[in-house]
């Protein structure tokens, strides 16, 4: 099936910006302490959480801008899969019980973005036009 050719790619860009923002707040909360989240308060530098925070800060920013969307989304999809299996999966099989809903949802959304790209409203699209 063909997606509607004009608006589907534009909404893809909107989706990319929203997931970028969702991810970015985790990076900001973990590394810069804003917004202040209780469980991220006393992270040590280069702990597993802080390294994830670096992925989320840099990856989230690049996704919002739509720069290098495919490789960035691919890496983030792997990061979310790792987060799901390390942090959530041991607690329960069902995402609704192990609180890994968001990680697994983001994992598949990023996987799709790594195939579909960033859409027309992105720096990638601007670079394409000039190149």
């Amino acid at each position: 099936m063909k997606p509607s050719t004009v608006w589907a790619p534009r909404i893809l860009s909107v989706l990319r910006i929203v997931v970028g923002l969702v991810l970015l707040q985790y990076g900001l909360a973990k590394l810069l302490g804003w917004p202040a989240v209780e469980i991220f308060k006393d992270l040590t530098w280069l702990s597993l959480f802080s390294i994830a925070g670096i992925f989320e800060l840099v990856g989230g920013t690049l996704l919002i801008l739509g720069l290098f969307t495919r490789p960035v989304a691919f890496i983030l999809s792997g990061e979310m899969a790792a987060a799901y299996f390390i942090e959530h999966f041991p607690n329960s099989f069902f995402p609704i019980l192990n609180e890994g809903d968001l990680a697994v949802s983001l994992c598949f959304t990023f996987l799709y973005l790594s195939f579909a790209g960033g859409g027309p409203w992105s720096l990638d699209a601007i670079i394409d036009k000039q190149g």
């Binding site: 099936m1 909404i11 707040q25 995402p95 996987l111 579909a116 790209g117």
Partner: protein, 136 residues
């Protein structure tokens, strides 16, 4: 269009992955519906949900919408309704608890609102009942 460009959709593989995303989003929604209506999986927070209550009505939408979305039947109208449903859930249940989704617990609702919005425009992809029936 340049096949190596950074921004265009790479058919047909991208469309298959679109269906994969749809199926997992549908299952994700479905477990909220079954948790509230059928009591499986057992979620402590959903233990006393009545069908007539707001949470119960939400559960019905999640149950029926989750099934239709997972199999990919009537994907566009279903996705449109679910997008509005998750937007309502975000503003009714979460927005009042704080501006940032990371603090008000509404990230999943916000994320799915836009995922469903995208499927309203993009359709179900090749692995769906809609595609089998030749529906666009």
């Amino acid at each position: 269009m340049n096949p190596n460009s950074l921004s265009t959709i790479r058919a047909p593989r991208a469309f298959s992955v679109l269906s994969v995303l749809r199926i997992f989003a549908g299952l994700e929604l479905l477990q909220h519906g079954t948790g509230k209506i059928l009591g499986f999986p057992m979620v402590p927070g959903f233990a006393h949900v009545h069908i007539g209550s707001l949470a119960g009505m939400g559960g019905l939408i999640e149950l029926i919408g989750g099934i239709l979305f997972t199999i990919g039947l009537l994907t566009r109208p279903v996705a449109f309704i679910l997008s509005g449903f998750t937007a309502a859930a975000y503003f009714m249940a979460h927005a009042s608890r704080g501006f940032y989704p990371v603090l008000n617990g509404g990230e999943l609702a916000a994320l799915y609102c836009f995922v469903f919005l995208y499927f309203t425009f993009a359709g179900a992809g090749p692995w769906s009942v809609d595609a089998l029936m030749g529906r666009k």
